[in-house]
């Protein structure tokens, strides 16, 4: 389910769910225990004041002028996304294919993408996820790249079918610690674990089979939290990953082949494997390594790998 809200104002809880409002409303607001306050007060007292208390020194405006400008690298990352973000499996809404893919590798990445069967190293497409920061600056730019439009064509897999309701063929929690240098064998092993052949024909069979499945065949969610915790969140995540590569966010058309809740360079992450096909273009896999919540920031910071398929 998309997170777009089209129903106007959010109803008051009391009018939408009176009983739930009564249950929640009866709960007193927690008050901070004294021991917690004492701990916080002590921790804050241990901090070094920002600058010496000289009334002649500082005003907030002056600090603003010389605060660290984190916006530039973020803008750089966003620009990179715009440049590489023109590949995507076309999303199909109401039987109409939109935002078909445009090859991107020639624009920003002269290196040839790795072929799964033989290539030694995959090609990372953006900076790896950064350490979670509890205090993001308000300068942080997390706007997704504008979708790139191009002439429409019918997706050979969905064939103009209705929007998919199953977001992924397989959802795993392998515990694998992925790394850029080992992505090729690790992704190959992931496909093998799920019983998917590492050629485009085998993968298309999986997608075709998935389309034939009823929504009830949705795989069990295996993560206790994050974007694999429930089908809607997983669907949103896959949809937004497609969108970040230039597709429409109007609805999920193409499910992911595989989603693996695992690690990337020691950090909690999701690995989303998506099959890309389009007329006149050799099929390939897009593999996104995304943060565990698949938030907008996670999607923007996702690391992408591309594998040509034999």
């Amino acid at each position: 389910m998309s997170e777009d809200w089209t129903d106007g104002d959010l109803p008051d809880l009391a009018s939408e769910y009176p009983d739930l409002a009564a249950v929640l409303g009866a709960q007193p607001t927690p008050t901070m225990p004294d021991e917690v306050w004492a701990r916080l007060e002590s921790a804050l007292a241990d901090q070094t004041p920002l600058v010496s208390a000289d009334p002649a020194v500082t005003a907030l405006a002056a600090h603003r002028e010389r605060r660290p400008r984190r916006v530039m690298p973020l803008l750089g990352a966003a620009a990179g996304l715009v440049l590489v973000g023109v590949v995507g499996v076309p999303l199909v809404v109401g039987g109409t294919s939109s935002a078909p893919p445009v090859a991107d590798s020639a624009i920003t990445n002269p290196a040839e993408p790795t072929t799964l069967a033989s290539g030694p190293v995959a090609t990372p497409r953006s900076d790896p996820p950064t350490e979670p920061d509890p205090a993001p600056t308000t300068d942080a730019i997390t706007e997704p790249a504008e979708p790139t439009s191009s002439p429409s064509s019918e997706d050979p897999i969905t064939g103009g079918a209705d929007v998919m309701t199953v977001p992924a063929r397989f959802v795993l929690a392998s515990g694998t610690d992925y790394s850029p240098d080992a992505m090729t064998p690790q992704v190959t092993n992931l496909l093998s674990t799920a019983g998917i052949g590492s050629n485009s024909g085998a993968m298309m069979e999986e997608v075709t089979a998935m389309q034939a499945d009823e929504p009830a065949a949705m795989p069990a969610m295996v993560g206790s939290a994050g974007f694999t915790s429930e089908p809607g969140a997983l669907r949103d995540c896959v949809d937004r990953l497609y969108s970040s590569k230039g597709g429409s966010s109007a609805g999920l058309a193409m499910p992911a082949l595989l989603v693996d809740r695992a690690f990337f360079q020691g950090r909690d992450a999701g690995v989303v494997v998506m099959l890309h096909t389009s007329p006149g273009d050799s099929p390939y896999l897009d593999v996104a390594v995304v943060g565990p919540e698949c938030s907008d920031a996670d999607v923007a910071a996702a690391t992408w790998f591309r594998y040509d398929l034999p």
Partner: protein, 213 residues
């Protein structure tokens, strides 16, 4: 007759903190301590995690006060940092308990199984206030973090959708969607607290299931 000293605003206190006042930041926290605590506690669902998250958040805010641009209220900025720290704690906690592959565990379906666990709780016990609070906390804990945070901010802490969007750094439509889906799940999960008859579920006043699931 003495002239009353005006109470400094949060923004003035933050400016004083940036100017080196060693007490100003603590005063801001003191003013909002219960609301900050409530958000951290309800988001993490655990007092220890909430305490740690709050300390992480406040120390980070203390050190990075200069990044505050003034385009939102100081309380909104502080809540944003606390929410992020709380969610970060949840992420770290979520890494640990991996569930086996579905084929190995024999699991089917989705989190509705968790809702079904409510049937194991004796409704008579749920009448106890503490038990009810634990039930609500458990139900919140079962929501995806983004939905939980939206519910906590809007429906429990009384922030407007616009304020919650500023805290969560997302569009207002996203907050509404998350609230709507979270409400639907909570209503189902907590129906036994208000409706002892399990065949008479709590339903939307206007009908329908906004969760779409």
């Amino acid at each position: 007759m003495s002239t009353p000293v005006p109470t400094p605003s949060d923004a003035e206190l933050l400016a004083a903190h940036c100017a080196g006042d060693p007490e100003a930041f603590t005063e801001i926290v003191r003013r909002h301590r219960d609301r900050l605590w409530a958000v951290a506690l309800r988001t993490t669902g655990d007092p220890e995690e909430a305490s740690d998250a709050l300390q992480d958040a406040l120390i980070s805010a203390y050190r990075r006060a200069e990044t505050f641009r003034g385009d939102s209220a100081v309380t909104t900025w502080l809540h944003r940092i606390v929410v992020n720290a709380s969610l970060d704690r949840l992420r770290r906690r979520a890494v640990r308990p991996w569930v086996p592959l579905p084929e190995e565990s024999g699991e089917t379906g989705d989190r509705s199984q968790l809702a079904d666990n409510a049937a194991l709780i004796d409704p008579r016990d749920a009448l106890d206030a503490r038990e009810t609070a634990l039930e609500i906390s458990a139900a919140l804990d079962e929501l995806p973090p983004d939905q939980r945070t939206a519910i906590v901010l809007v429906d429990l802490e009384g922030w407007s959708v616009e304020e919650a969007a500023a805290i969560m750094e997302c569009p207002t439509g996203t907050v509404k969607s998350r609230c709507s889906r979270g409400r639907a799940k909570l209503a189902k999960r907590l129906q036994h607290l208000r409706n002892p008859d399990p065949d008479s579920p709590v339903t939307p006043a206007t009908g329908g299931d906004p969760s779409g699931e």
